[in-house]
């Protein structure tokens, strides 16, 4: 029997007060996420239970109990408070998947600051944009990434503290300080900052079609959504060994790689290493992983490696698997059931929703290729693109829309209330995706409703890429689109018109590709570049990405009445 039991019954009788009761909020309990993921587990008798099994790139293994997590997150919290950081100020966490990331994030929350996790592969431009927008006061990083911070530091007026977790013994500049959370004097008791449900907790940056990345602000209330969905969608039980492969630089890694499992007192595995098929199978076998949450790109890459590799490992410990980030194609669901013995359960959500909103549930028949059904407490539909009214006709494609009000919904975009407000139409939150609903209420993803590129489950904004491209000395005009890709769903393709004096060449392509990778990230790096004499523009001079994408994919071009005459 799964945690959720009957989906139909749960959907009908659900109220979020259920989560409040289970997390003891109704008794006036502390509601700080940092406390709920560490101290509370110890108070519930789980102090000695393993919270984190971490394996480094080199295969070195470290284990931390919930009591370790409690004390070490206290160490971080006290350290930040002693630095003079005030509640509500932003602390960026810019680290690889190492214990300091997971424990440091709880420390930030415990002292009342807002945690701003950023993907450690971000280049200096991507980092600068997000730190500048957030007015970030402190950044937690490591030797490996400090160079990027140093190169932009002078331009960041608000950034006062650079904390280097492995900085002992290295030459540090003004404002840089080393902090080893395991060597610091143990802080047995820390006065956790008393928050209200609406106190900001996390600031996650996400990409849009136009303009700079937007900071989706979440609050401590969000834990209700993360707790309940982890319990019912990922079906975690006390004895589980859970592995979420997502990087906490992105929202899945915090909601389901930190908050969800630890609010339930579950032991989780973290591999510092990225995707290597054999090593992933090895990890499942070695640690006897029971619940596995990953991304469709990874699953398709596992499929590409073939059945022979799977057969070399004992994966019999797995009892539940799930996937998020982009639509999981039906073939991948069928493959996993045939080869691994259990199917991946796809689900849908986004940075702004804070928690899973549509899912295939354990115990419910999966419809391969479908995202599943709305989570209890979530009202979802598809609406028409003009009046934003729910579409009644079964199977019609419309805009994915959610009724606002669930606890983990974002509260604003940082410094950008106008864009936040524009996301709500006719009483619905418009997700920016197109979908349809079948006769049984299953949701089917169709595609994005904008130009945002979904590559390997990560959203990349074309504007940010185009801006970076224009900084290359040879580039006069640029456009970035998502090119369909069988493994990554989409990869970035750039169209470029060169400045006079520059000729297209393979060397120039490589130079441009590496330029973007260093400035933004490997995900934003064009995997393909096409040089053109000029790019199609509207009469007002705006480059028509839509036309380029249609030409690339062979789709209907649509209205080009505004196209500039050549």
């Amino acid at each position: 029997m799964s945690n959720i039991g009957s989906y139909g019954e749960r959907y009908r009788d659900f109220d979020w007060s259920r989560a409040e009761e289970e997390l003891s909020w109704d008794d006036g309990g502390m509601i700080n996420i940092g406390y709920l993921c560490s101290d509370r587990n110890c108070e519930l008798g789980l102090a000695d239970k393993t919270a984190l099994i971490w394996e480094s790139f080199s295969g070195q293994e470290k284990r931390y109990s919930f009591n370790d997590i409690r004390i070490y997150s206290n160490n971080f919290a006290k350290f930040f408070r002693d630095l003079g950081i005030e509640p509500g100020e932003r602390i960026c966490i810019f680290l690889d998947k190492i214990p300091a990331l997971y424990i440091g994030l709880l420390g930030v929350l415990k002292m009342g600051a807002i945690a701003q996790p950023l993907f450690s592969a971000f280049g200096e431009d991507a980092l600068f944009t997000r730190l500048e927008d957030a007015g970030t006061e402190a950044i937690l990083t490591s030797r490996k990434h400090i160079g990027k911070v140093r190169r932009i530091r002078d331009k960041l007026k608000a950034l006062e503290h650079v904390v280097v977790v492995d900085g002992e013994g290295m030459e540090l500049s003004d404002g840089e300080v080393a902090f080893d959370f395991e060597k610091a004097e143990a802080v047995e008791r820390f006065d956790v900052y008393q928050v209200s449900p609406e106190t900001p907790s996390l600031l996650h940056y996400t990409s849009g079609t136009t303009g700079k990345p937007k900071g989706a602000l979440h609050v401590h209330h969000s834990i209700l959504g993360q707790y309940m969905t982890t319990k019912w969608v990922l079906d975690l039980l006390a004895e589980d060994l859970y592995w979420c492969t997502a990087d906490p630089g992105w929202v899945t890694g915090t909601s389901y790689g930190i908050i969800g499992p630890w609010s339930l007192g579950i032991t989780q595995l973290v591999l510092e290493m990225g995707f290597i098929p054999a090593r992933w199978y090895q990890a499942i076998e070695k640690y006897k992983v029971t619940v596995f949450y990953t991304a469709p790109t990874a699953i398709r890459m596992l499929m590409k490696e073939g059945e022979e590799l799977v057969k070399k490992y004992d994966l019999s410990s797995l009892r539940h698997t799930a996937s998020v980030g982009e639509p999981l194609n039906a073939e991948a669901v069928i493959w996993s059931e045939e080869v691994m013995g259990i199917p991946f359960h796809d689900n849908y959500w986004q940075t702004e929703t804070g928690c899973i909103v549509i899912a295939n549930y354990p115990g419910m028949k999966i419809r391969p290729g479908s995202m599943g059904k709305p989570f209890p407490g979530i009202t979802a539909t598809v609406v028409d693109p003009t009046e934003y009214k729910p579409i009644e006709k079964v199977g019609s494609v419309g805009l994915m829309a959610l009724k606002p009000g669930w606890p983990s919904m974002f509260r604003t975009y940082w410094n950008n209330q106008e864009t936040y407000d524009s996301k709500f139409k006719n009483g619905w939150y418009i997700c920016g995706d197109r979908a349809s609903i079948d006769e049984d209420g299953y949701f089917w993803f169709v595609g994005r409703d904008d130009d945002v590129i979904n590559t390997a489950g990560h959203l990349v904004g074309p504007f940010e890429i185009e801006s970076a491209l224009l900084e290359h000395p040879a580039v006069a005009e640029s456009a970035a689109i998502g090119k369909p890709d069988p493994v990554n769903m989409e990869v970035v393709k750039a169209f470029i018109a060169l400045k006079p004096g520059h000729e297209p060449s393979d060397e120039l392509k490589l130079s441009i590709i590496n330029f973007v990778r260093k400035k933004l990230s490997p995900l934003a790096m064009p995997q393909e570049i096409e040089f053109r004499e000029s790019l199609p523009k509207t009469r007002s001079g705006k480059i028509m990405r839509r036309l380029l994408k249609a030409q690339e994919t062979g789709e209907e071009i649509g209205d080009i009445s505004t196209l500039e005459d050549d």
Partner: protein, 85 residues
């Protein structure tokens, strides 16, 4: 050719993928991908470099993270797929 190729590839890896301030040192046997120094997305630029420098058209199915994990492994692939211009 091997020693020269090793130096050229190592130089490219240092220049393009490592940050000077990190203090990380690499040699031909340093795990690049499983060591977290080069991510799998960046293989595209490494493949492009090898194609341009050594006229080595390494097929996609052979461009796996394992096959690209060390400069020694990369050199084996280059030698296998190198074509005289």
């Amino acid at each position: 050719m091997d020693a020269e190729m090793k130096d050229v590839i190592l130089e490219y890896v240092r220049e393009e993928y490592l940050d000077e301030d990190s203090g990380i040192e690499v040699d031909e046997n340093t795990p690049l991908i499983t060591g977290g120094l080069v991510d799998s997305f960046s293989l595209v630029s490494l493949l492009m470099f090898l194609r341009q420098k050594y006229n080595a058209n390494i097929p996609d199915q052979e461009a796996t993270p394992e096959a690209f994990d060390t400069v020694t492994n990369i050199m084996k692939l280059v030698e296998k797929y190198h074509q005289d211009k």
